[in-house]
Symmetry: C3
Subunit: 232 residues, 3 copies
């Protein structure tokens, strides 16, 4: 029996949402120790000719599909943004076409965890979606951001870095978010229960929330939606 | 690498519901061994001046917010209802304001699990909601109870102790629950599939259920609702 | 402290759905090592006179209710379809009537995992639903199948073996499924996002799916529904 310790991180990534999966994993990976192997199954292209890959960064490893989901978390771990990517060959005659999590990624991750070699086929033409979870910028008093992810509480996480808001506004100010005027507060409970606010979330992103409620419902915002943030 | 063993108990507590969380933890904690450290993140007041606390009872430990959620499970473990509560200091300049589960409670729980000292700052002015999960009483033939929790099957768990019902009724009798006349049975399958009943659940509470269905839907009962129970 | 390693397989079986639970467990069990004890709590008859049983097959063990859920996964493991079934006695005066997962099955599973004896009471009159997850057959060009299970992505898994379809159709053909004409493809991404298809899933069953969507919603199919499959 292996000594490997297995932890389920999360089974509630919106199905097939590569961007949400990359965001969650980017936030979680830095808290895992050296030697961790992350097996990632967000794989809308399973069974096509997309490759399986293993990514190495800062002594952690990621195994999954070559669809871009592994690149942001690996870059997050890397001091200099450099990552090593390897092709993971598999026999598409013997494996299922619809569940490589079971048939390709998990066995490859187990092999790496046990010290198996995986560095035979380095590649540099891996899929890179160039996702920037903090990419939105202000143009004058207005920033156009995108919703990266809605967490299970309904907090709306945008790709506007909280620091850029804090350069222009103080907690206690009002910020225009789409057509709403929202108090900008340092945490949820600064507004009454059920009331909306905006804040800087635990990932460092500008977020739209409702105290003990759902910012997503209150402002009708879903992953991928545009958000206009205006600070007067 | 630590030898600590990590178990996820439950991620489906209704968000921010301190009472439901306290109920679930009260039921679960007695089945864990001495030395267990429970890290509890039901924390609507995160980032305000509410304290972080560690609670010790019967050689188990609870770490979480000082909002009342840790007190009932700790009392459940304690022979004499006495518990020890300690303040867990943290630096609110360096930690996030919105995710103390990650930044404060988990590190403190890990430290306690590794034998770290946490008893420097005993307090006795901790938040005590005086929750009594068996507090409802009969007045004559009628009891007014409250719904403590609706589990994922839809079973409606009230704060009326099952024993108080069994003093007044036998299995097979009919009990009036709000406007419904429900058979009182010792288990779900005593009534046809889809039919409502009332019973004494596995926590010892009086429950309203539907065989292979949802008592919550059938009687429109949610956590916090009042329930009138009448035994003729 | 025990050296047993505990893994939660799945908490999202549709409540009380013995057939779905048996299907999931049949697919998962072969990936677990010898000595594994599976504790199974899909138990609509809890607290009635249905028995608790332990099943042994190919050096794995299953503990749960005698309602048929344990038999298909045990047979799946057995080379010759033979399984050994034992009654697990319990005291119905001291245990709850509504949560044998906690009070009967888990303690029995723990005892077996620690090497405890459980073979005192062999039985052969256990409940056998004779579930065949690949039981549908073609009659001429048409097969009448049943939906075994809808997974969390919305893939509709039928009891028609994929191999029987592949004898009559090639990937790229069109297959009539109820009133829909669906492309038969080797994986989801062969059709545009949001479009329906049929395929042979990772369990070897004929499935109805939507690329990055829900086959269940698109064709209004739920577990237990009949599906007519016609290959011209």
């Amino acid at each position: 029996q292996s000594d490997a310790r297995i932890h389920d991180i999360y089974h509630a990534v919106p199905p097939q949402n590569v961007r949400a999966g990359a965001f969650i994993l980017s936030n979680v990976a830095p808290y895992f120790p050296a030697g961790t192997v992350h097996c990632v199954v967000i794989d809308p292209g399973v069974g096509t000719d997309r490759r399986a890959i293993a990514v190495e960064a800062d002594d952690q490893y990621f195994v999954g599909p070559d669809n871009g989901v592994l690149v942001p978390p690996a870059r997050e771990l890397s001091d200099n943004n450099e990552i090593e990517v390897y092709n993971v060959p598999y026999d598409d005659e013997t494996e299922s076409n619809t569940f490589h999590g079971r048939d390709v990624f998990a066995p490859a991750a187990a092999s790496i965890a046990e010290g198996g070699d995986f560095r035979d086929n380095p590649i540099d033409d891996y899929v890179d979606l160039n996702i920037d979870f903090y990419g939105a910028e202000f143009d004058g008093s207005t920033a156009r951001a995108e919703v990266v992810y809605v967490d299970r509480f309904g907090n709306v996480i945008t790709d506007l870095e909280g620091g850029k808001v804090l350069e222009r506004a103080d907690y206690g100010d009002v910020i225009h978010v789409n057509r709403s005027h929202l108090p900008f507060e340092d945490t949820y409970a600064r507004v009454p229960e059920g009331k909306p606010l905006c804040t800087v979330g635990s990932h460092g992103n500008f977020e739209v929330s409702v105290n003990q409620g759902s910012g997503s419902k209150a402002l009708s915002l879903e992953a991928g939606d545009e958000v206009e943030i205006e600070i007067e």
